[in-house]
């Protein structure tokens, strides 16, 4: 299959990734059947991860690797987890994608990779203070479309 990203996009993304100083692990979860966008998503992420030495990807199957999926609360395919790294250990910030991150979501993915790498959410101080005080689970599900 031909690359999904053209050379111009690759160049631009490589440029913004140049500021990345800490590694990010992208966990990809696919499934064999009934997944229209698993192959494209895996290829897209493979191409993105190839644009920086700080990025690594690991590939899982939602069913066969159910233990890993459960560990990262992944229940959809294609699914992505953007995890930071502390030495060899992964740091799960709870940042996930379900479905192919193309179109608008492609830039969200690039920005999120940069944020996870830097460990800086970019949020206001007030928002951060509020979030630090939370003591119960919060699941934010942001519905988006590529266009």
């Amino acid at each position: 299959m031909a690359d999904l990203l053209n050379d111009q996009i690759k160049g631009q993304v490589r440029d913004v990734f140049a500021e990345m100083q800490a590694p990010v692990q992208v966990l990809f979860f696919g499934q064999k059947d009934n997944c229209a966008y698993c192959d494209d998503t895996q290829q897209l992420v493979t191409e993105v991860v190839g644009l920086s030495d700080q990025l690594e990807m690991s590939v899982y199957d939602l069913a066969k690797n159910a233990d890993v999926a459960a560990l990262y609360n992944v229940d959809k395919a294609p699914g992505l987890v953007l995890a930071g790294k502390s030495g060899d250990a992964l740091v799960d910030y709870g940042v996930r994608y379900a479905g192919i991150p193309s179109g608008h979501e492609f830039s969200s993915l690039i920005n999120d990779l940069l944020r996870v790498s830097s460990g800086d959410s970019g949020l206001d101080v007030k928002t951060r203070e509020y979030l630090k005080g939370l003591e119960e689970p919060v699941l934010l599900q942001v519905f988006v479309t590529p266009t």
């Binding site: 979501e105 944020r115 630090k132 699941l139 934010l140």
Partner: protein, 61 residues
């Protein structure tokens, strides 16, 4: 927000691939953010303060 609290998980969901879930949460336009499986909701692209307000509203009760 997920980065700032271990209690928070954030999932970007492609609505056309997961239509059943989107329909269950009455998603008719994007972005549309549901909190804790429908306990709260924020429609549209809003400043982060609005999302915090909605969190405060549903978590206070």
């Amino acid at each position: 927000m997920a980065m700032e609290s271990e209690w928070v998980q954030a999932e970007a969901i492609e609505a056309t691939e997961f239509q059943e879930l989107a329909a269950r949460h009455y998603v008719s336009g994007v972005p549309n953010t549901t909190i804790n499986d429908g306990a709260g909701r924020v429609v549209g692209s809003v400043p982060e303060g609005k999302l915090v307000q909605e969190l405060q509203r549903i978590l206070a009760g």
